[in-house]
């Protein structure tokens, strides 16, 4: 792979109510941020299956962001954010168990007004991934 | 009776200015079945807890004392470290607390120490008042004489009750000493100046302040009919007494260590 032309691929799972709304606000506020981050809107950070994150890595993502509403009480679905926390916390540990940098996965709470925080998150995460370099995947995993 | 063991840290002032306090205290403790072991080669506690975040160096002497206690704790089979002087209590307990809250500081401090073993934050720092409070029933049983004609204003000073994270009673209206005295049938007055500042170490360079602060305490106690102020701190005692002298014995009031009163009630 030509490292000069390499661009980090980053998927950001944003919950519809807080971080997704922050992304909309970032748009309305014309905050320029890293185009490497592609958002996928989900109902809640609690809807983000660890499988989705691994799927992203397996298909060539170099980093994954999960963003939800602030704990303890901002979650539109009462406590989906805590579920996301537990899942991401364990998945990060597993990633490092398997020898993959856990920094490639980031969980952040971003409220609907924190568009600036979202921008910073996207930019800084892109920078982090740029430093870590590409996560190369040649062939996909399969099943029986 | 099964004796409770405790390590004992006297500190400089007790050994230099308050030997009588120590003597009476140790007597009382032995009466209630507490065996104390004075730390061998005890070291300065640090005298005043440094409040700065970046000033870890100043906690070294406190830590060293705690490590000494840890070593001797194994020998005597107790992790309790008794203090009489409120300043020693304050510093040691706060160093202990700080290490418990920020264990990473322990690693930094360890860099300054070559000989000592690693501190496991297992020492429990106690002040005399806590020990007496926990043995109040035993104290009651020891009463042999009614201490007559004595009206006491309990005086706690600042350092056993502040800051909140090391306090064993509410600093705005503590009741530990009041309860101990009442348990021994000694008359105690309602005294709002229990924790008013006596002037502290200002006595070495600004005696005017000490006279004014301690004067207020003395006067309030006198107005409320006390003839004794019970203290637990050698510095408070010194400040109150020098102030009393400067007032020319106008007030008929005596400054007495708490344990002195206890030993009056419990007999020789």
């Amino acid at each position: 792979m030509n490292l000069d032309s390499w661009e980090p691929k980053i998927v950001a799972f944003l919950c519809k109510w807080c971080s997704g709304a922050a992304a909309e606000l970032a748009g309305v506020s014309r905050l320029l941020y890293s185009p490497n981050v592609i958002p996928i809107i989900v109902p809640c950070s609690g809807r983000v299956d660890p499988d989705l994150i691994v799927e992203a890595f397996m298909n060539g993502a170099d980093g994954v962001i999960v963003a939800g509403c602030h704990t303890p009480s901002d979650c539109h679905y009462i406590a989906g954010n805590f579920k996301a926390f537990k899942r991401v916390y364990m998945l990060k540990k597993l990633l490092s168990d398997f020898g993959i940098e856990p920094e490639r996965l980031k969980l952040e709470w971003v409220s609907a007004v924190e568009s600036q925080k979202l921008k910073t998150l996207f930019d800084e995460f892109t920078f982090t991934i740029r430093k870590l370099g590409p996560l190369r995947v040649k062939i996909r995993g399969g099943s029986v | 009776m099964i004796n409770v063991k405790m390590l004992y840290y006297p500190g400089c002032t007790v050994k230099r200015n308050a030997l009588e306090y120590e003597k009476k205290t140790l007597e009382i403790l032995s009466k209630i079945g507490i065996e104390v072991y004075e730390l061998d080669n005890w070291y300065c506690c640090g005298a005043f807890y440094s409040l700065a975040k970046d000033d870890l160096m100043k906690h070294i002497s406190g830590l060293r004392t705690l490590i000494k206690a840890q070593v001797q704790a194994r020998k005597h089979g107790t992790n309790k470290l008794l203090t009489l002087c409120p300043m020693c209590y304050n510093v040691l307990k706060r160093v202990n607390h700080m290490l418990r809250e920020n264990p990473e500081n322990l690693d930094t401090l360890a860099l300054f120490m070559d000989e000592e073993e690693k501190y496991t934050i297992g020492i429990e720092v106690l002040h005399l008042l806590e020990v007496l409070r926990d043995n109040i029933d035993k104290l009651k049983r020891l009463v042999v004489t009614e201490v007559k004609d004595v009206v006491v204003a309990p005086y706690y000073g600042c350092t056993v009750l502040r800051p909140r994270e090391i306090a064993f009673d509410n600093a705005e209206n503590p009741e530990v000493m009041d309860n101990i005295l009442r348990a021994l049938k000694i008359e105690v007055i309602e005294f709002p100046f229990k924790t008013e500042c006596c002037g502290a170490y200002q006595s070495v360079f600004n005696r005017k302040i000490v006279f004014e602060k301690s004067g207020e305490i003395l006067e309030e106690a006198a107005v409320r009919g006390a003839n004794i102020i019970a203290v637990i701190c050698p510095l408070c005692k010194y400040n109150l007494e020098t102030t009393l002298l400067s007032l020319g014995k106008k007030l008929r009031i005596e400054i007495v260590y708490l344990t002195d009163l206890l030993s009056r009630a419990t007999g020789p």
């Binding site: 592609i38 109902p43 809640c44 060539g60 | 705005e172």
Partner: protein, 650 residues
């Protein structure tokens, strides 16, 4: 999932230059055309305009599209517009997806090439999702036209009356033996100085005689199940030992009762008997026996029973568990005062002449323990000098971090009434800031300061203690404006204690309503949905939601009533159908989903999980949690999300 092969149309909007200025829309169209399932793609300057919508409709009909992706702004802006457009030509609205290429691309990136690439990926994701979106119909259920109001203070009373007057039955549950709440304890109300009882008691009486309001006093809600429109609640009605209809309030029983205990209503400033009525205008108008203190259960005393002329006393009365079905629940559980004894420096609990604000209300009240005379509690000496201390507990990280909002005003009111009643009296108020933002409030404060010459001291109090000679309270404080240490001797010290919510944790979790870190109920949206909670069908009003005064409470209560009626106006509850569904063939009955669902929407029926579509809010926590992958979220299925992930990274 639709059974027919997806035929997707992609419509890329220029949004003038908003999108087209950065994103190469033509290229997006070209790329879209190459995607699987896509049979049509085109761009237009304003898709949301009438001609734009016509374009979509025409394409649907001509190309037999069965799914549509509009690549434009956010769905928040125009989902409804396009959904209606496709519905107009017979397509289900859930067969529409929007690719947000404006807010997520053209507006946030300057690099045209990268913005275009990203827009293409967003379109790809939308296409794979819409291809698998099921056409759905809204979920409907019949509603029970009845409302449960929890809490019988001014908030609960207002809600109950508003709703009952509109013809909907109300069940009002109150924990204490009477409705009226804290407002019944107040003397006068700011800023108009109306007598609280005079405005409240007629409302209480109206509640009592309203044919559509059923009151449960001495009662608590102990269980809640069901969902919006169909709640089932269990109410524990504690035994009163006095038959409400038979009691004639003659008071004979009270006179003969030998037990005296401090009166809750007068906050300990006077005594009551073990058989008592909290205050003369209590609703329901009947005595009550306080079992904990009554001697009947100790030594068989039955003096009251013997003198009761109507035989209203029944020692065999028992606690009852009542079940009710309601469509809406309104939480109006109110507040209590922060325990002032936690602030030892002020001597509350140590000195009888240091009292809290509600105690002072009782002293001021004509029906209170001193009949409205301002006497100090310790020796009933007339009070000549009062010190008020504000922010007792409030705005303090050691106690309550928040501002309790009403204390500035009620303290001013206290000071005013005191000055009015005690000619030549002196009043001092220690304060940090004066918060008097309300209609007529600032004027009221100014009046208190100018006309009544209440001495406002900007600063805090060191401590309060008693002068041993005079028995006066000594207040030592600091005036920050002059830098002076002040000592004020006073007959009485009144603490403006902060408010703490009273909603029990268990009840909140049964109602599935979140609360903030202080215990106040969290509203669904702080601006736009201030009386709704996140659980549909549960509303909140009054101090249970946050500190507020009577006027605000009443306004919020009426708002909650209106919201409840809006919900119950229709015979059916209609809900978004984006809910979870269980594949019962895959479910192994492990109960993980039941445990993880925050709404109690899942239960096990015959060993398999089942979703209650009316309770499910569609968060998807269970979908992820199901170890057997037996649960799917409609139109957010794992398969769809996996495909979307692939679409954006490959």
């Amino acid at each position: 999932m639709s059974s027919e092969e997806p035929r997707v149309g992609v419509f890329v909007c220029h949004c003038g230059l908003n999108i087209a200025g950065v994103v190469d829309v033509k290229k997006v169209v070209e790329e879209a055309k190459r995607l699987p399932h896509v049979v049509h793609a085109e761009d237009y300057i304003y898709m949301c305009s009438a001609p734009g919508q016509e374009l979509i409709k025409k394409a649907i009909l001509e190309k037999k599209l069965n799914a549509v992706v509009v690549a434009a702004c956010t769905p928040t802006m125009h989902y409804e517009t396009f959904a209606r457009a496709i519905e107009a030509v017979g397509l289900n609205r859930y067969r529409l997806e929007m690719a947000v290429i404006r807010e997520f691309s053209s507006w946030v990136h300057a690099d045209k090439k990268k913005a275009t690439e990203k827009a293409i990926k967003l379109v790809k994701a939308a296409v794979v999702k819409v291809a698998d979106n099921s056409p759905l119909e809204p979920v409907k259920s019949r509603t029970v036209r009845k409302v449960l109001v929890i809490g019988g203070g001014i908030a609960g009373i207002t809600v109950a009356l508003d709703i009952a007057n509109a013809g909907i039955p109300v069940i009002l549950v109150e924990k204490t033996p009477t409705i009226g709440g804290k407002m019944a304890m107040l003397s006068e109300t700011f800023p108009t100085l109306d007598c609280a009882q005079c405005i409240l008691t007629p409302k209480m009486a109206e509640v009592a005689r309203h044919p559509l309001i059923k009151i449960y006093t001495n009662s608590e809600v102990v269980d809640v199940s069901g969902f919006v429109g169909n709640f089932k609640v269990k109410i524990l009605q504690r035994a009163r030992y006095v038959k409400i209809g038979d009691c004639r309030l003659c008071g004979f029983c009270e006179r003969v009762c030998p037990v005296k205990v401090p009166s809750e209503f007068n906050r300990g400033l006077s005594d009551r008997k073990a058989i008592y009525i909290p205050f003369p205008q209590a609703i329901p108008p009947a005595y009550v026996i306080d079992k904990a203190n009554c001697r009947h259960w100790v030594d068989g005393c039955d003096k009251c029973l013997r003198v009761c002329p109507t035989k209203a006393i029944d020692f065999n009365d028992e606690d009852k568990l009542v079940e009710e079905e309601v469509g809406v629940i309104i939480v109006a559980t109110g507040y209590d005062l922060y325990p002032a004894e936690r602030l030892k420096e002020y001597g509350y609990g140590l000195y009888r002449d240091v009292i809290d604000s509600l105690q002072f209300e009782r002293i001021l009240s004509a029906g209170g323990p001193t009949k409205g005379l301002i006497l100090r509690p310790s020796d009933r000496k007339p009070v000549k000098r009062v010190v008020f201390i504000q922010c007792v507990g409030s705005r303090d990280i050691n106690h309550l971090e928040y501002c309790s909002k009403i204390c500035c005003m009620y303290t001013a009111k206290h000071a005013l009434i005191f000055k009015e009643r005690v000619p030549g009296g002196e009043a001092y108020v220690f304060y940090i800031d004066i918060r008097a933002a309300g209609k007529g409030y600032e004027e009221f404060i100014k009046r208190v300061q100018e006309e009544f010459q209440v001495n406002y001291i900007r600063g805090r109090v060191n401590r309060v203690y008693r002068d041993p000679k005079t028995g006066d309270m000594v207040v030592v404080g600091f005036d920050t404006l002059t830098g002076q240490l002040l000592t004020v001797k006073a007959d009485l010290v009144v603490l403006a204690t902060g408010l703490v919510p009273q909603l029990p944790y268990e009840l909140a979790s049964k109602l599935k309503i979140p609360f903030d870190k202080y215990g106040f109920v969290q509203e669904a949206h702080p601006k736009l949905r201030p009386v709704e909670t996140v659980t549909s069908g549960v509303f909140v009003c009054g101090v249970a939601h946050g500190p507020k005064d009577i006027a605000e409470t009443v306004a919020q209560a009426s708002a909650a009533a209106a919201k409840a009626m809006e919900l119950l106006y229709s015979e059916y509850i209609v809900k978004e159908p984006l809910v979870a569904v269980v594949d019962r063939d895959l479910c192994s009955g492990c109960r993980v989903c039941v445990g993880i669902c925050p709404y109690g929407a899942l239960e096990l029926v015959e060993g398999k999980a089942k979703v209650n579509e009316l309770l499910c809010e569609g968060c998807g926590a269970c979908v992820v949690a199901c170890p057997s992958r037996a649960i799917e979220l409609r139109n957010y299925s794992t398969k769809q999300l996996l495909e979307m992930v692939k679409a954006v990274v490959k």
